[in-house]
Structures are given as structure tokens and as C-alpha cells.
Amino acid sequence: MKLPVYLGLLHQSEATLAKSYRQVADGHGDEPDVHFLCLTLARQCDAHQEALAPSIERYGESTEDDEPERLHHEGLSQTRSGPVGLLRDLQDLYLMANLVDITWTMVKQAAQGLQDAELLDVIGRCDGETEVQLQWLKTRMKQAAPQALIAAS
């Protein structure tokens, strides 16, 4: 069964995303909405990892399989500065959150196949939040893009 590989991928991706939200929060303190919201969303990712823990305990977690490992995102090496830098950092977060989002979907499919009500309950509480994270990143980037790409120097 390869579900442990995907649980591992999900766990790892949430951890990477949490770390990256915190990096962006630190790097863009002059954008207070980004700063505080990224901290909130990082805590959300932490909570997702905690919520997954009992299922990981039951199924185990593997990071051994080569194929999905290539899907792992390394996270941000460092944040950028300036209006375009903010846009790019948010775009990076968007890619990472998408990886999390689609992995929740895969795990959900497996949980349904396994008729695992406990895991489905966890997914029900978490995957909607990841979706909103994506919507927020998109909303914020849409707001920032024209100014960053046209008017900022």
C-alpha cells in the first residue's frame, strides 16, 4: 500500500508550507496584512500536521518511495524584497499550497476507498482551509500585480 508515501508527502508539504509562510511573514513585515496572515496560515498548516498524526500512526509514513519524493518542494531559500519580490514570494507560496491541496485530494480518494471515517473527518476539517489559502494568495496577488508590474520601479 502506497498510502503511507502520500501521507508522508502531505505531512512534509504542510511542514514546508508552514515554514515558508513564516519566512514570508518575516521577510515582508512592511506589508502587515501579509505578515500577520502568513503567521495565521502557518499555524493552520501546523494544525493540519497535528490532525494527520493519528492517521500516520496507524498507516505509517514513508519518505522512501523515489517517485513522489521528486514532488517535494524545497520551500523558499530566502524571501525577496520590493513589490515584485512580494509578488514572486506569494507565487511561490501558491505553488506550494497547490501541492498540498492536490495531495489532500489524493489522500481523500484513498481514505474513501479504505472507508476510513476517521481520516475522512480530518480531511474534511483541513482541505477546505487549504483551498481558502489558495484563494487568499490569488486574491492578494491579483491586488498586487498591476502595481508591481506597471507602476513600481
Binding site: 502587515p32 489559502q133 486574491t139 498591476p146 507602476a151
Partner: protein, 811 residues
């Protein structure tokens, strides 16, 4: 005669539930002017709070010499508050008024003629548009202009320049009112009416110190309280306000925890079965979301988080849940605090749960702070699309393009409007190089003032300031434009309960001052803004043309003015919108049949996630198909972003006093008001004062991570662990700089805003307090208001004396 400084609310005229609020005509004339000396009385409405009291301006020899309330006006039945009585006319009849344009030459401001000043603006504007395009331009306006002026500004900004960077200081006072109603009901627009005070049997005030923010509305409540069947009263406020003193239940919540309290109240109402299940089933959506959000919030959980008694939470919920007709009002204690939109939506949700909307006494007033905030929101000077149109709805965008005769591509509808704090951020980063500020004073009213001053002083930023006085903000301007004041121009404005008044011109403006409308029209002409057919974009000759254009823009929308006219407003006085063919006399309450503005083609917004501000978007919204049903929008509680720490152990919150408005540009120039509250103070609880070894009037330094202020301490009724500071005081009248004696409350506040309404969070910060010096007397805080001393009689009472005597005529 009555001393209306000592007695803010005036003589009681008690009445019973469902009765008529008796008239009481308040009048104040300048010293030495008798009633017989008044040559003309000119119809208007008071512009010094959001209440919108109908009044007549007394004119003698071309000057405003006094004011009286209009007995037949639906808003005030003749009454006026201290600000209206003393500051409306004295606040503008002053030798400090700007009487000529000023331009910056060699670092200083020098007088110029209009042509020079306006050409300088137009030249810079043209050059920047050429070089960087419309996103280089920002406009930051007010909550105190007239409807016609906002609409002119909205049209020229959107269809002339094409910038999304437009906002007003309404963002600081009322943005959450609009946002919460958009989220819950599909569009802005107050469901209730002021007459709900007459009809209700319970009133709940959420973060709303009505006794000081809308003194005449509070007089109406006091008259119900003094009547034979007084309504129950619940007050949510961390201070022992006048409202709290009359309340059956006072929930003095820890600042920043409103949402937890609201979750608890809703949970109690549901648990006890006090909901109208038919209404919920027939007229709402997403009840399940609400159930899930409130589930953990038992009264005990609320008590732990909010610092209130669980029994009080139960009692407050019971008053809401078991009264027959409940009026709820909400203001800055919710709007300027953490999780503002989510908390305010929960008040809407309470009313939805009981189906308490659209019936007499079952009202909801998401209040406005400023007198014309409603018009700013309607006309789109706050960046929204005019007429409560939805920027994500292509049909709404097309309607406006056709109305204005411009291409849809011309005006920005591809992203939400840029809110105030973000406009200043872009100016800080240099991508906005042209900023036009009208009738507001961000150098005192925005958060984190050291930063604001740095931005306004940036040499690369071309700053235009249009005002009555050389404010703290105007001192940074490249061009200062002298504006005509209330009474010196004609226009309309709309109060909290959708009542539209015409304010007629009483006198000529001083010197070369011109109305804000004239100034905007002049700029539009000089810039050559045109329709597609080449004709001028704004070809209005004056305010009445602007009003007619607005009527067309509003036609068919929730804020429909199409059935009004200047003549009708003059003849009848205040009329509520919508006023159209169907409702020629206006409509007292909205949503009377439980049908809301949420239909996808009609709504003002597709909504947001209340935690992040992420947009829902058209696809998801249409899939939800609310189709006229209201939405239970909610979010989980989370603690505020800045909590007390070892370094900054106290909570900090800011607010208003009854005697002043905004940054005191008018009220500070009314001698009676200025004497009542002449200088800055901070409030501390008795327990904290003892802990810090501070006595009444001792001087304290209060610091946050952003700055510090020095002010005398009033030992008052604020919640333990919390410091309160009034936000009115700046630097124009002290001659001191912020470096000499920093006293503006916003030196300490933080730059952060609600994710949906984008309203800055003024009421949550962490501070430290130290005693700096012994005082030489009591703090200069009024004793007649929430700032009264905790120990009665320890401080001389605030009185106005002979100068504050006003006539009250009971009929």
C-alpha cells in the same frame, strides 16, 4: 436655557413604546444676537456626526450666527447635540480659514491664485500619467463632503484617470459597516430605522458608545428609558461608558475578543431554542457553518477568553433571545477592533436567527461614524463601484461604462479598490507619485503617525491637500486648496438610517475658497477628461446637475435616489432611500419580506472568506445560489495580532469624546467645546493606577513598539489592564511638534487592518506605561462622559457656563 456642555443630552422628554418622540427645539445664537436679528434661516442638516440632525442655519449680515433644530425632522425632532449647537457654525467662522490657494516655493507655502495652483496640479498629473500611467495617482477623501462631490470625484478618478487607488477616511470609521452588510445581505444599506428606538423593547449596543458618538440618538434612547416601559439594555464595551451605566448587562470585554463573545451569544440563542426556524429555513443559507463556528463557545469558554462573567453572557443572550423587538447597533468597538467584519456579521446573524429584520423595533443599525460616510460608499469615492455595483459583475461594469460614455477598459474593475493603508504603502514605495487628499487629516487620524509623517514628507510625492484649514496634513502639501465649508455650499448627504437631507448654501465662502465640487470639476476640465464622443466627462454646472447624474446612476440599485429632487428635499426635509416610483416617499425599513440583495446579478459582492479576505468569486457564488436569501457568514475566533507582553504589559485602545469630532479642526475652534476637553489625556483603572503609583492628573509616558505619547492620567472606569486614549488631539493648536510633546493617540497604534473591510485596527495594541512627573491638577478629561473619574467628586465637574447656554423649547 440649559448649559449644554454640562448637560450633553438636554432635557428629558419621556415617551412610551410605540409613542411619538416629543419634539424639543434646541437653538444657539451667537453672543449679542437676538432671534429678531436673524435675517434668514437656511435649511440644512448637521455635519458633525453620522446622525444627520435636520437644522436651520441662522444668517445675519452674510455670516452664520447660530443654529436651531427642525422640529418636524424625522431624525432629531428639533434636537441638536453640543457639537451641532456650538461647532457647526463657529467651527467654520474662524480667522484661521484658508482663503487663498497655497503652493510650495523654496520649501515654504506661499499664496497663489487658483489658476497657478490648479495648473501646477494638472501639469504634474499629466506628466505622471504620461510617464507611469493611472496607477501613479491616488485620491484619499473624506466622510464629510457632499454626495455630489463624492460622485464627481468617483467619476473623474475612475472614468477620467482610471485608477483603483481611491479611498476615504470612511475606511477608518465605517468600512466594516458596509462590509458586514455586503457579506450578510448582499449589499450595503442599513436595514433599520431610527424609529426602531421608539418601537423596541430591548436595545443592544455593540462597541457603540452612542451617548458620545451620536448624542441626539442617545437622547432618544434616554427618553425611552425615562418613559413608562423602558427597554432592556445590553452594552458591550471595555469602558464604563454612559451607555454601560444604564445597561442591564454590561459586558466589559477584553479588547480584541469580540468575536468570541459573539460566538457565545449565538450559541446560547441556538441552544435555548430562541431561533425562528421558519425564517432560518426560508430566508437564509449556511446555517451549518454558523453551528460549527459557535460550537466550542460555551458561556464559560467566553468568560475565560473575554474576561466577563458567564452569567452575564447568559443574561445578555436571554435578553436578545426572549425580547419581542430588539434593536442592535454596532460601532467602532467592533469596527476598529480585531476580526471586525466577522464580529459585525455575527450581529447580523443574531437578527437573522430570530427573523428580526424589516419590522418596527426589530432593527439593525450598523452605524456610520461620519456624517456623509454613507454617500462616500454609495458614490464609490471609497473605490467601490457607484450604486453598490459589483466590480466582479461584467454587466454592472458595462452599465457604468454606458452611463459615463467611456470604454469599459478605461476604468479599473479587475481588482478590488485599493484601501487607504495600501494607498499610503504605495506612496511610501514610490509607485504612487500623486496623492490628492480632500477634507481629511491623515497626519493625525491614520495609525502609526511617525510613519505617516515620513510618507507625507517624501519629496518625490506630489501632495495636494484640499481643506478648510492648514491642518497637520496640509503642512506637507505641494499645493493647498482652500475649500468652502458646510453652509457655504449646497449639496445633499445621507445619514445612518438612509435619510437624505439637502444642505443649502447660507453664506459665501471666505476669500477665494471654493466648493470641493467646483475644484473637482475644474481639475476635470483642465485635464480634458472626455467621453468617447469627445464631450466633457463632467459637464455639470453645479451641484443640482451632479445630483441628477447621480440619480440616474442609482436608478434600479438598492440606494435608489431616482424619485428625489432638490425641490422635494427642500419641501419635505429628510427622505429615506430607496425613493423611486415604487416608493415615492422613501422606504423606512429594508428587507421587510425577508428577500435580500443576494441574487447573483444584483448583489454588490460575491463575498469573502472572513478570516483571510479571499474572494469567493462568481463561480462559487452562483453555485451557492443564495437567490435573495441572507448568508450566515462567520469565522473562527483567533487572538489579536498584538497581545500584552513583558515589555508592553497593557492593552491600548482609542476612542472619541462627546465634545470633539475627528481631529478637532472644527470642534477645537468652538470655544465651549474646546474648554470642555482642551487637551490630551489617557485613562487608567484605579487598580492599575495604584499599581503604577499614579494619582489623578499625574503625567505618564505611554509607549508601544511604534512610538510614545505623554499625557496626564484620568483614573477612570476603563477595564483593568487597559489604557484608553482619545484620538482627537494632534498638533495644530499647541505649536509643539510631535518630538517636543507627542500627544496624538495614533503615535502608538499599529498598521494592520481587517482582511475584509480593510478597516485599520485602532483598538488593539500593547503598551507600557511609566509615570513621568507629578501632575499640577486633574487631567483635562470631561467628567460628564465615559472619562468621568472612577471616584465621583474627586475632580471639578465639567460645565460650560454662560457661553454654553442654549435654548430648549419643549412643545
Amino acid at each position: 436655557m440649559s448649559d449644554r456642555i454640562a448637560d450633553i443630552w438636554g432635557t428629558r422628554t419621556p415617551f412610551e413604546q410605540g409613542g411619538n418622540w416629543p419634539a424639543r427645539v434646541d437653538q444657539k445664537l451667537a453672543e449679542g444676537v437676538a432671534e429678531a436679528d436673524v435675517q434668514r434661516w437656511v435649511k440644512s442638516a448637521c455635519l458633525l456626526c453620522s446622525n444627520g440632525c435636520g437644522c436651520d442655519i441662522a444668517v445675519k449680515d452674510g455670516r452664520m450666527v447660530g443654529i436651531r433644530g427642525r422640529a418636524e425632522d424625522r431624525v432629531n425632532h428639533g434636537r441638536l447635540g453640543p457639537k451641532g449647537l456650538f461647532a457647526s457654525w463657529q467651527g467654520v467662522d474662524n480667522r484661521d480659514r484658508l482663503t487663498a490657494p497655497l503652493v510650495r516655493e523654496n520649501g515654504g507655502l506661499v499664496e497663489a491664485d487658483w489658476d497657478t495652483a490648479m495648473e501646477r496640479i494638472a501639469e504634474r498629473s499629466r506628466a505622471l500619467l504620461e510617464e507611469k500611467g493611472p496607477l501613479s495617482h491616488g485620491f484619499y477623501t473624506s466622510g464629510q463632503l457632499f454626495l455630489e462631490e463624492y460622485y464627481a470625484l468617483a467619476v473623474l478618478g475612475k472614468a477620467g484617470i482610471g485608477t483603483p487607488h481611491m479611498d476615504g477616511n470612511t475606511r477608518l470609521c465605517t468600512a466594516t459597516a458596509a462590509a458586514s452588510m455586503k457579506e450578510s445581505f448582499g449589499a450595503d444599506g442599513q436595514p433599520g430605522s431610527y424609529t426602531d428606538i421608539d418601537e423596541c423593547d430591548a436595545i443592544i449596543l455593540y462597541g457603540h458608545n452612542m451617548a458620545e458618538t451620536q448624542t441626539v440618538l442617545w437622547a432618544r434612547v434616554l427618553d425611552r428609558i425615562a418613559g413608562p416601559d423602558q427597554p432592556s439594555l445590553v452594552c458591550v464595551d471595555p469602558r464604563g461608558t454612559e451607555v454601560a451605566r444604564h445597561a442591564d448587562v454590561h459586558l466589559a470585554v477584553r479588547p480584541g475578543t469580540n468575536l468570541a463573545l459573539m460566538h457565545g451569544l449565538i450559541r446560547e440563542v441556538i441552544e435555548n431554542g430562541w431561533i425562528d426556524e421558519d425564517y432560518v429555513a426560508g430566508h437564509t443559507q449556511r446555517f451549518g457553518d454558523l453551528l460549527a463556528a459557535v460550537e466550542p463557545w460555551t458561556p464559560e469558554a467566553v468568560a475565560g477568553t473575554c474576561g466577563v462573567a458567564a452569567a452575564d453572557v447568559r443574561r445578555a443572550a436571554e435578553i436578545f433571545g426572549t425580547s419581542q423587538r430588539v434593536l442592535s447597533t454596532v460601532l467602532q468597538g467592533f469596527y476598529q477592533s480585531w476580526q471586525a467584519t466577522a464580529s459585525s456579521c455575527q450581529v447580523n446573524n443574531l437578527h437573522l436567527l430570530r427573523g428580526m429584520l424589516g419590522r418596527p423595533g426589530c432593527g439593525l443599525l450598523q452605524m456610520n461614524g461620519q456624517p456623509t460616510a454613507q454617500n462616500n460608499r454609495e458614490c464609490g469615492a471609497d473605490g467601490d463601484l457607484p450604486g453598490f455595483r459589483n466590480w466582479e459583475n461584467p454587466k454592472h461594469v458595462r452599465e457604468l461604462a454606458e452611463l459615463w460614455g467611456v470604454d469599459e477598459l478605461k476604468f479599473p474593475h479587475w481588482a478590488p479598490p485599493t484601501h487607504a493603508a495600501q494607498i499610503f504603502r504605495y506612496a511610501e514605495q514610490g509607485s504612487i507619485g500623486f496623492l490628492w487628499i480632500s477634507a481629511t487629516n491623515p497626519a493625525v487620524s491614520m495609525p502609526e503617525l511617525q510613519r505617516m509623517r515620513r510618507i507625507l514628507a517624501k519629496p518625490e510625492l506630489f501632495l495636494v491637500v484640499q481643506d478648510l484649514y492648514l491642518t497637520e496634513t496640509a503642512q506637507y502639501a505641494d499645493v493647498v486648496l482652500p475649500a468652502a465649508a458646510w453652509g457655504e455650499k449646497t449639496g445633499t448627504f445621507t445619514n445612518v438610517d438612509r435619510t437624505v437631507h439637502l444642505s443649502d448654501q447660507a453664506i459665501e465662502p471666505p476669500g477665494q475658497a471654493r466648493s470641493d465640487l467646483d475644484i473637482f470639476l475644474d481639475y476635470s476640465r483642465r485635464m480634458g477628461f472626455a467621453r468617447n464622443d469627445g464631450s466633457p466627462l463632467l459637464d455639470w454646472a453645479g451641484p443640482e446637475d451632479a445630483f441628477r447624474a447621480w440619480q440616474e446612476c442609482s436608478r434600479g440599485r438598492p440606494c435608489d435616489y431616482s424619485g428625489m429632487s432638490y425641490a422635494k428635499l427642500l419641501a419635505r426635509g429628510g427622505i429615506q432611500w430607496p425613493c423611486n416610483e415604487e416608493h415615492p416617499d422613501g422606504l423606512e425599513r429594508l428587507y421587510t419580506d425577508g428577500t435580500f440583495s443576494t441574487e447573483a446579478g444584483y448583489c454588490e459582492t460575491y463575498g469573502h472568506d472572513l478570516t483571510t479576505g479571499a474572494t469567493v468569486g462568481p463561480t462559487a457564488y452562483r453555485a451557492m445560489a443564495p437567490a435573495g436569501r441572507a448568508l450566515f457568514k462567520t469565522a473562527p475566533y483567533s487572538p489579536p495580532p498584538e497581545e500584552p507582553s513583558d515589555e508592553y504589559p497593557l492593552r491600548y485602545t482609542t476612542g472619541r469624546t462627546a465634545y470633539h469630532f475627528h481631529t478637532r479642526t472644527k470642534t477645537g475652534r468652538a470655544p465651549q467645546l474646546n474648554a470642555a476637553a482642551p487637551d490630551m489625556w489617557v485613562e487608567l483603572s484605579a487598580a492599575d493606577a495604584q499599581r503604577y503609583g499614579i494619582g489623578e492628573g499625574d503625567i505618564a509616558v505611554v509607549s508601544s513598539a511604534r512610538g510614545r505619547i505623554t499625557a496626564p492620567v484620568r483614573i477612570g472606569d476603563v477595564r483593568e489592564g487597559t489604557v484608553f486614549a482619545p484620538f482627537h488631539y494632534g498638533y495644530w493648536d499647541t505649536g509643539e511638534s510631535p518630538d517636543d510633546r507627542p500627544r496624538a493617540a495614533n503615535e502608538l497604534t499599529m498598521t494592520e487592518w481587517d482582511p475584509v473591510s480593510k478597516q485599520p485596527i485602532f483598538k488593539n495594541a500593547a503598551v507600557r506605561l511609566e509615570k513621568a512627573a507629578a501632575g499640577s491638577g486633574p487631567a483635562p478629561a470631561p467628567t460628564t462622559t465615559a472619562s468621568r473619574p472612577a471616584q465621583p467628586g474627586t475632580v471639578p465637574a465639567t460645565v460650560g457656563g454662560a457661553a454654553a447656554e442654549a435654548r430648549e423649547e419643549l412643545t
